[in-house]
Amino acid sequence: MDGVHDMGGMHGMGPVKPEENEPVFHADWEKRMFAMNNAISAVGVRNQDESRHARERMDPAKYLGSSYYEIWLDGLIRILSEKGVISEEELSGTVPAKPVSIPRPALKGEDVDTVMDKGGNYIAERGKSARFKVGDKVRAKNIHPVGHTRLPRYARGHIGEIVADYGPHVFPDASAQGKSDPQPLYSVKFASTELWGPDGTEGDYIFIDLWDDYLEAPGDAA
């Protein structure tokens, strides 16, 4: 979706403001929010791309005015509500919590390190065959899917070069809709001046990880 989360290249955001000796968390509620969002992955009621897409669908004015973990709060409530796992009425306490059936058991405290050390897996054993190879010139398609996508707006329509083939990976656009559609993932190198024209810098490059479906041969552009 062409949302406010897709920020690459936007103007008017002001200076970057690093904080000296920044703590990992700034408040207790941030810790709990971080932990809930990670712990709940174990039960398998929503995947990572559904989770990301939920955050992207926050009211855009609120998104821009919210801190990071406020966005996580909004996104987690949104996706769990959509999945029928929780409701606003339960949250506000106007109705008692209804039991839910979950695909997998909740994460135990003693298993946290093992589970986090293992991580997830987004590499597919097989998928669509690669249409491109290292060295190929490709164009990022000028597409505007309404759902989740990892093709940033600033790359669309522009020509780059495949510099690595990372092999078949779960396709996030499909994954956010509960599907998989595994396909090759590439590292694509774009010249700064290709993306930003005269406002770019000659000799600088931007590397973007892009899936096969996002790309076309440069001559194929509509």
């Binding site: 920020m7 406020e70 796992v85 994460l107 405290g109 997830g120 940033p152 993306l195 600088d204």
Partner: protein, 206 residues
């Protein structure tokens, strides 16, 4: 998001809503309080940029390790026991006299947790995400990192599950230092690419 500075004063309803959500998720059996505590402890106290600093220092002193890191960073980093969530597919990119690398996630906050821990607020903020792909040199200047005109800048936008770790240049005048002492020079930002190594100490928890 543009602000991202409101940490001290979230709306009281935000704090209340987080509490209500936690109570509800626990009551429904979706999360357990002990797991939440363990997750917080892990990323506050166990997993952070000191991990990445060890990897970088090893690459500086051990040419064979450096090659392994550049060839298969996931495996090379796993030699230290650093693995897992948000670092399942690591790629190391090396700064040289001719190339400077810097990492961003323009779409959100992707960041190599096993080596750097959780990202700082500025990394997740609108100004950084918006600007570093368009005017990286200007952003780096604001971090005090001035790059010569003939240096090639490479910006890595983490749009997939690949997580990028910058190997900063080894500071000059460190020839006699051992791996452990060198690791002290590797600050977090140097592994994102916004600063050089040696400029800042690796502070506790950052």
């Amino acid at each position: 998001m543009a602000s991202n500075h409101k940490h001290g004063d979230p709306l009281p309803e935000t704090v209340l809503r987080v509490k209500s959500l936690e109570s509800l998720l626990i009551e429904k059996g979706l999360v357990e309080a002990e797991a939440l505590d363990a997750l917080i402890d892990r990323y506050e106290n166990k997993v952070g940029p000191k991990n990445g600093a060890k990897v970088v220092a090893r690459a500086w002193v051990d040419e064979e390790y450096r090659q392994r890191l550049l060839t298969d960073a996931t495996a090379a980093v796993a030699e230290f026991g650093f693995t897992g969530a948000q670092g399942e597919e690591l790629v190391a990119v090396e700064n040289t006299d001719k190339i400077h690398n810097v990492v961003v996630c323009t779409l959100c906050s992707c960041y190599p947790w096993p080596v750097l821990g959780l990202p700082p607020v500025w990394y997740k903020s609108a100004p950084y995400r918006a600007r570093v792909v368009r005017e990286p040199r200007k952003v780096l200047e604001e971090f005090g990192t001035l790059l010569p005109d003939d240096m090639e800048v490479r910006v890595w936008d983490s749009t997939a599950e690949t997580r990028y770790l910058v190997i900063p240049k080894r500071p000059k005048g460190t020839d006699g230092m051992d791996e452990e002492a060198l690791a002290q020079l590797v600050n977090r930002d140097s592994m994102i690419g916004t600063r050089e190594a040696g400029k800042l100490p690796v502070a506790e928890g950052t």
